[in-house]
């Protein structure tokens, strides 16, 4: 057994041993802050604990001023530093160089809690998702006015279709200002109704930096937005709550730009195609009808006096031709014979019937009117004479066996 001859020597040896241990010279440890006091010289004396143990710590003013967080009792933290032994008091403490908020561990927990809550409420329901307009006239963008994100989006949109408006609502996309500013951006567009689609965008960043988009307020603003919302937060692998509530999630801000504007060329092509099909369809329709009409016309015409007359004329012409041919051969026959035949033939010609002062009455389609029963007072009819047509209106109708027909 080693015999230390004084407390001083013992404590000195403890200090030396501890300082020689590389694990204790520089390490990090996780715990919950259980005490926290700041001295007059701006050093902070505190302790961290777990379920059963506690250890004293100090962070000197120089390091304390560099802290990104404001330590508080109850906060779960990760501290970085080394063990220091104070031989005069026989006390051990950790000299801290940095303290991190262990939100990150807790962040996942927060995320899961909020995710579950909103999911249970139905904020992610696909039935609620609105479709993105193919050709929004104006695109609202909620993002930082500085940085590459807005220029990425605008340049992508310009490339695909140069004819569209973009309206930026400048908003902080990091830290505590992010949720209220993003929410007011979404609300602004919904109030003004001056855009057809909203893109909420942010460039890449750490989990912690993007964490502000895991915000219940933002989620509700997106859910309640009457204008479709596209989320484009960070890069491909990054998912935040807003991505689940948004009507569609874009992997990156550039992808959002591509998504929001249909390619001008594609759309132009489709319109041209449809216009062409429209012409083809109407032409086909007219052709079909014309053919059907022709058949119908011919069929109808068989019963029409005009057609009958035409047919008779053809017969007469044919006969006349034959006759003339015959007349050459039949020189022995007298001209009077031929003339007689001609006269008889002429009598067959309906044209000549008309020349004799007869006429026939037909409707506007040329169908002969054979009975007073098929017309009414006030009808328009055509009276066909040998040299033209009288366009007439029926004033009254007298039936053969009696009075005036009551129209």
């Amino acid at each position: 057994m080693f015999d230390f001859d004084s407390v001083s020597r013992l404590n000195g040896y403890i200090k030396q041993s501890l300082s020689e241990n590389p694990y204790l010279a520089e390490f990090s440890v996780v715990g919950e802050i259980s005490q926290y006091t700041v001295s007059a010289r701006d050093h902070a004396y505190f302790s961290i604990k777990d379920d059963s143990c506690v250890v004293n710590c100090v962070i000197f003013a120089r390091n304390r001023s560099q802290l990104k967080i404001k330590p508080e009792i109850g906060m779960k933290v990760k501290i970085y530093g080394g063990v220091d032994y104070y031989p005069q008091g026989g006390k051990l403490q950790i000299i801290c160089t940095n303290i991190e908020d262990l939100g990150a561990g807790d962040l996942h927990e927060q995320f899961n809690k909020l995710f579950k809550k909103l999911q249970d409420e139905g904020l992610f329901a696909s039935e609620h998702k609105k479709s993105i307009p193919v050709l929004p006239r104006r695109i609202g963008v909620v993002t930082s006015s500085s940085g590459k994100v807005i220029s990425d989006i605008v340049n992508t949109i310009r490339k695909r279709n140069p004819h569209h408006d973009v309206l930026l609502y400048p908003a902080s996309v990091q830290g505590v200002e992010c949720p209220p500013e993003v929410i007011s951006g979404i609300n602004y567009f919904n109030r003004e109704k001056n855009v057809d689609v909203i893109i909420v965008a942010r460039g890449g960043g750490s989990y912690e930096e993007l964490f502000c988009f895991n915000d219940e307020g933002i989620a509700r603003a997106v859910y309640n937005s009457e204008i479709p919302v596209i989320s484009a937060i960070g890069h491909e692998p990054d998912y935040t709550i807003i991505d689940y509530v948004a009507d569609i999630r874009a992997a990156t801000p550039t992808a959002a730009g591509e998504m929001v504007i249909a390619s001008y060329e594609d759309q132009k092509k489709e319109i041209d195609n449809l216009a062409l099909n429209l012409d083809i369809a109407i032409n086909q329709f007219v052709d079909l009808r014309r053919k059907a009409l022709d058949v119908y016309k011919n069929h109808k015409a068989l019963h029409s006096p005009a057609y009958y007359a035409m047919e008779q004329q053809a017969v007469v012409k044919e006969l006349r031709t034959r006759l003339e041919a015959l007349s050459g051969k039949m020189v022995e026959q007298t001209g009077s014979d031929i003339n007689q035949m001609k006269v008889r033939l002429d009598a067959l010609n309906p044209e000549n019937v008309l020349k004799r002062g007869y006429s026939y009455v037909c409707d506007k389609d040329g169908n002969a009117i054979e009975s007073v029963g098929s017309v009414n007072r006030g009808d328009n009819v055509n009276i066909v004479l040998s040299d033209g047509t009288l366009l007439s209106e029926i004033k009254d109708i007298a039936e053969k066996h009696g009075g005036i027909k009551n129209a």
Binding site: V134, S151, I271, A275, L278, L288, R289
Partner: protein, 80 residues
Amino acid sequence: MPKAKDKEITYEEAMTELRQTVAKLSEGKATLDESLKLYERGIELVGICENRLNEVTARIEAVNKANGTTDPLNISESGV
């Protein structure tokens, strides 16, 4: 005769109506009168869609939160 609601019609609605019009007309089941009407409407819709597609404004603006106006935003082709 453009319908009064055509001012309100969105590009998607016009495209959808145009597709339906072409389909209906292509079926050939409509009467002559209906077909002519479909054709006329189709031509009208083609015009609406083309106009929408070509509406040249391309304004890039930012909301001025101080006074609620929208001001032009300058963005270079290559980035900010």
